[in-house]
Symmetry: C2
Subunit: 140 residues, 2 copies
Amino acid sequence: MKPRVTLITLGVDDLERALRFYRDGLGFPTDGIVGKEFEHGAVAFFDLQPGLKLAVWPRASLAHDSGVGVGPSSPTDFALAHNVSSKQEVDAVMTQAAAAGATIVKPAVDTFWGGYAGYFQDPDGHLWEVAWNPRMLPPD
Amino acid sequence: MKPRVTLITLGVDDLERALRFYRDGLGFPTDGIVGKEFEHGAVAFFDLQPGLKLAVWPRASLAHDSGVGVGPSSPTDFALAHNVSSKQEVDAVMTQAAAAGATIVKPAVDTFWGGYAGYFQDPDGHLWEVAWNPRMLPPD
């Protein structure tokens, strides 16, 4: 198995709300909700870096498709990290997320690993870390 | 905010078990567990495609670092998709995952969106979809 992830699908409770958050609030490129013609098919995809997409899909659809039971939000299930080039950019992204309706669970602070990072939750409780890590700087 | 994810962190209940699953079972490259010198710092990183890493980190550490409460596994929180180049490769990856100790929650079948896919759960209940999608083929 190649070490590769091509799509990160977030289970959501309200697809329209999730679309608004990621498209309008965070500015992620998307064609909006597609697949409405299929039962449990309605989904929105967002382009991340080349080779990786984000999707928001109702929890009930993910449960139906995969065969697992529908579960509630569990914030320690996972976190997505968004690395940036400076402490100032961390602050700017956290401000943008808050304005988009995110819950700031940890304002950005200096970290034990020598960086600067904060956490927010999207409207479905999914954790994002916004981080400046001098040993993991983004290419742009 | 740029549309970018640099790190996917999975909350786990047993760090050594998660390391064995991803390193020995799925063959993901890693330096093993690092950060043991810090309280709540022990973590393992795996290289995915360039610009993206996977991490396994105890749920208690993720909760401590982010300020959210520790929650249980909730399989519909998210899914990671691993796209491959053929139906045969889907079957091969599902077989590898099962041998590594994954729970096969949905054996691969033809999908409503014209592909072929199955789902497994890692030892901590995290969902992976292994998919052949003729409209989303990997570069290699």
